[in-house]
């Protein structure tokens, strides 16, 4: 394919090699690819499937909860549903979502690299992830798991009659996929940066993926160990968590949360990175306080390792330990607050436009703020004692993970979609979906804060009738949300064959990924770019920002799309 065949590309003075999408079209060329961009798309396909499975489980749960009595499914089925929902959403959607799809696709481009440091390891990570997911799903097909995604002992080891071993093995395997991916990104950022790309010139998206990778590598082994202990206990009857034999059920919680609290930051940090790229681009502003943002990312990554005990305030942990964990939890609120304020300040003096991607990013800031503020409640010991293990917690983590992370994921997907596919989607539909998602989300999850305050425990299949009205609201919101999640699948799919050509840089963004063709060639850049300035160069250092220039090739792109050859 030549330049002429790609309307909307500037005249480069050389002819382009074929795009990565055209470099081989057989199934084999996809399944054995070592191209970070194709691997990113493999992940995008697999996490979409997992997201749909997890979503269906949530829909059945919310339908069950419309009435106080447990009347739609049995108690055992309900317990299996929330376990399935949690396991799939946490390990097979949230944790891989941004790093393995957008991270894989964008990170090497954003640092001017030809690929990640270990392309074959990258492909292997995907297969490990699929293997882990298949094990976990086979546990579902055989009859399910009923321990909750937290696998608390001794319920999971001595009492549960479900496929705990198989599910734990699945998560165990997927953990190695995380570790390999994290390692790969760390080495990539260290060794593959192009000329001139110093550490303080890295886009914050790259910083956030880098920090996430460090957490992945350091924390995931703790998960692997504790899952191996569970399997050991169930299969070989080791007695590690059995108090009758000197074991300790609480030991499990310490190791589990030593992983799972940092894992919460694995889920949110990449989202923070995405949002920074989007907010700067659509306000035409340098990010406010670049250094502070970098240190906030690193601070969150480091402090995240020392707050696990705030999940255990009511476990019988010593008063002194609780006090320290409470203090550290308040401390970690500071870098999170810095990020929120700096995002807001970034808008100041900009020329702001409201593309769908920007709407998702603005929604992220608001919903993340809600999630973070309610985190202060949970860091306070006397308040946590009442609201922990109630729907307050369910609302809190959905605000962070769904309101925050999933919004950021959609912001990033809309932002980089033109780069990934070379096509534009329908902006109108996309904005409608973003607004619908924001409204649906709040209708679904805000009532749960009140439910939790009123005392409705989580993981309840039936509940006292006083709680029905708020539960009905929540279920109603879930219907709006389902619709909002279905919309992007439709307009993204349509864009693939009807969308107009995107051109290299439809948003006039500054990252290196925009300095190559859309979709990029297999080798990413024909000539590796050289970096001579700080990121977010939307305006001179202390000069005025300017309106986004019109895309000079816009007219050309509005022509009917290129015929699929």
């Amino acid at each position: 394919m030549t330049d002429a065949a790609r309307p909307g590309t500037p005249d480069r003075g050389y002819s382009l090699p074929p795009s990565y999408l055209n470099a081989g079209t057989t199934l084999k060329s996809w399944l054995l690819t070592t191209d970070h961009k194709r691997i990113g798309l493999l992940y995008l396909a697999s996490i979409t499937v997992f997201f749909m499975i997890g979503g269906i489980a949530a829909a059945v749960m919310r339908t069950e909860l419309m009435t106080p009595a447990g009347d739609l499914v049995s108690a055992d089925t309900y317990n299996r549903l929330f376990t399935l929902h949690g396991v799939i959403m946490v390990w097979f959607f949230l944790i891989p979502a941004v790093p393995t799809t957008l991270g894989n696709f964008v990170l090497p481009l954003a640092i001017g690299a030809r690929d990640v440091a270990f392309p074959r390891l990258n492909l292997f990570s995907w297969y490990l992830n699929i293997a882990g997911g298949s094990l976990a799903l086979s546990a579902l097909l055989l009859g399910g798991v009923d321990t909750g995604w937290t696998f608390y002992t001794p319920y999971s080891t001595l009492y549960s009659n479900s496929y705990v071993t198989l599910a734990a093995a699945g998560v165990f395997v997927a953990g190695f996929s995380s570790i390999a991916t994290g390692l790969n990104f760390i080495v990539t950022v260290h060794t593959q940066r192009t000329e001139g790309m110093g550490w303080m010139r890295l886009p914050l998206f790259v910083w956030s993926i880098y920090a996430t990778s460090i957490i992945l590598v350091l924390a995931t082994p703790a998960l692997a160990i504790v899952l191996a202990m569970i399997v050991g206990e169930r299969v070989f009857d080791l007695g590690l968590f059995d108090p009758r034999r000197g074991g300790d059920p609480i030991l499990f919680q310490h190791i589990f949360w030593f992983y799972s609290h940092p894992a919460v930051y694995i889920m949110i940090l990449p989202g923070m990175g995405v949002v920074t790229e989007v907010l700067t681009c659509f306000s035409r502003r340098k990010v406010f306080g670049y250094e502070a943002m970098v240190f906030a990312i690193l601070g969150i990554a480091i402090f995240g390792f020392f707050v696990w005990g705030h999940h255990m305030f009511v476990s019988g942990q010593s008063t002194f330990a609780s006090l320290i964990f409470s203090l550290l939890s308040f401390v970690i609120a500071v870098p999170s607050a810095i990020k929120v304020f700096n995002w807001s300040a970034t808008l100041y003096g900009g020329h702001i436009t409201f593309e769908a991607s920007m709407l998702y990013a603005l929604g992220f800031v608001g919903l993340f703020t809600m999630g973070g503020l309610t985190g202060l409640f949970l860091a306070s010991i006397p308040i946590d004692v009442h609201v922990t293990d109630t729907y307050f917690i369910v609302a809190h983590f959905h605000y962070i993970m769904v309101g925050g992370m999933v919004s950021a994921f959609f912001a990033g997907l809309h932002f980089w979609w033109p780069k990934i596919t070379g096509r534009m989607y329908s902006e109108g539909f996309a904005r409608a979906a973003a607004l619908l998602m924001f409204v649906g989300f709040n209708v679904t999850f805000f009532p749960q804060f009140i439910l939790g305050f009123m005392g409705m425990p989580r993981r309840y299949w039936s509940y006292p009738p006083e709680f029905q009205i708020l539960n009905l609201m929540s279920s109603f919101g879930a219907m709006i949300l389902t619709l909002a999640y279905a919309l992007p699948m439709i307009y993204f799919a349509l864009s693939l064959w009807r969308g107009r050509m995107a051109g290299d840089n439809p948003w006039r963004a500054t990252g290196l990924e925009w300095a190559t063709a859309s979709p990029p060639p297999r080798e990413n850049f024909v000539q590796r770019p050289v970096v001579d300035r700080a990121p977010y160069d939307y305006h001179p250092a202390h000069g005025e920002p300017t309106e986004r220039e019109d895309d000079p090739d816009r007219e050309k792109r509005d022509d009917r799309p290129e015929d699929p050859a």
Binding site: L158, P243, V334, S380, I381, W461, H542
Partner: protein, 310 residues
Amino acid sequence: MSDAIWSRAGAHAESFDRLFTVLTGFSVLILLLVAGLIVGFSIRFRSGSKVTRHKVSRLIHREIEIGWIAATAIVALFFFWWTTSANLQQAAAPAGAMEIHIEAKQWMWKASHPDGTREISTLHVPAGQPVRLYLNSQDVIHSFFVPAFRLKQDVVPGRTATMWFRADRAGTYPLLCAEYCGTGHSRMLGEIVVMEPADFAAWLDSRPQGGGMIAAGRMLFTSVGCSGCHAPGSTVHAPDLDGLYGRQVPLADGRVVTADAAYIQDSILLPRRDIVAGYAPIMPDFADLLDEDEVAALVAYIRSLKGDAS
């Protein structure tokens, strides 16, 4: 007819509601601030609007940043100090609390009163009197949750958890299990019936006596052989247990521990762990001989030896 689940009763609930209200107010303010900034800037600086975009000098930039880092740090530390001190003030039960033993199992709550009275899934207590609970689980982790008291305590098998409350108002308050414990989790419900002290005394009198944990413990004390060494007249050199509960005990390795329920349980199950100063480590361990019910009964019995009679 029970009170609303979220009705407010008890010593902890008041301070909880105060903290919760203030934190909510603060959060609403911050949320309004952030929303105000975002929406305000979005409108004012929307593309095409003609407002002048003032430059922000590097110095002001720095000042703004340092300002809000300092402000959030101070607010965070203030809330830490305030909520933690509220917690510490209420951590210890007041002296003279009534002591009740709770056994949790899939999927019910069993209570035993000091005089041996037992009840299932209901707990009667007098209003105005501090009550201290000792909680054990026979199987998995449960969590004793009374929303009206704003209190919750995980009950972990193999450990004795404690919590205390004082319900100031008579009423019937729902009790729920808050830690997922299997099929019947959402139906592991009960009630705390708070009665005026006179009504409570009458209720207690009307209940059949006997049985009960302390009586069971007294029998076990002889039948499994504790009394062989620990009875006052014994020839073996072993500590006398009368009045032991709550005392400071000096250990052979120089530590001093409080003889609480956990200490007594450990002494029965893991006697080598804490050797009392001045005694030989000759006590056999009873871990294989006793089940959890029996250990709990022995602990309850030893707790009841107040040291005034023998």
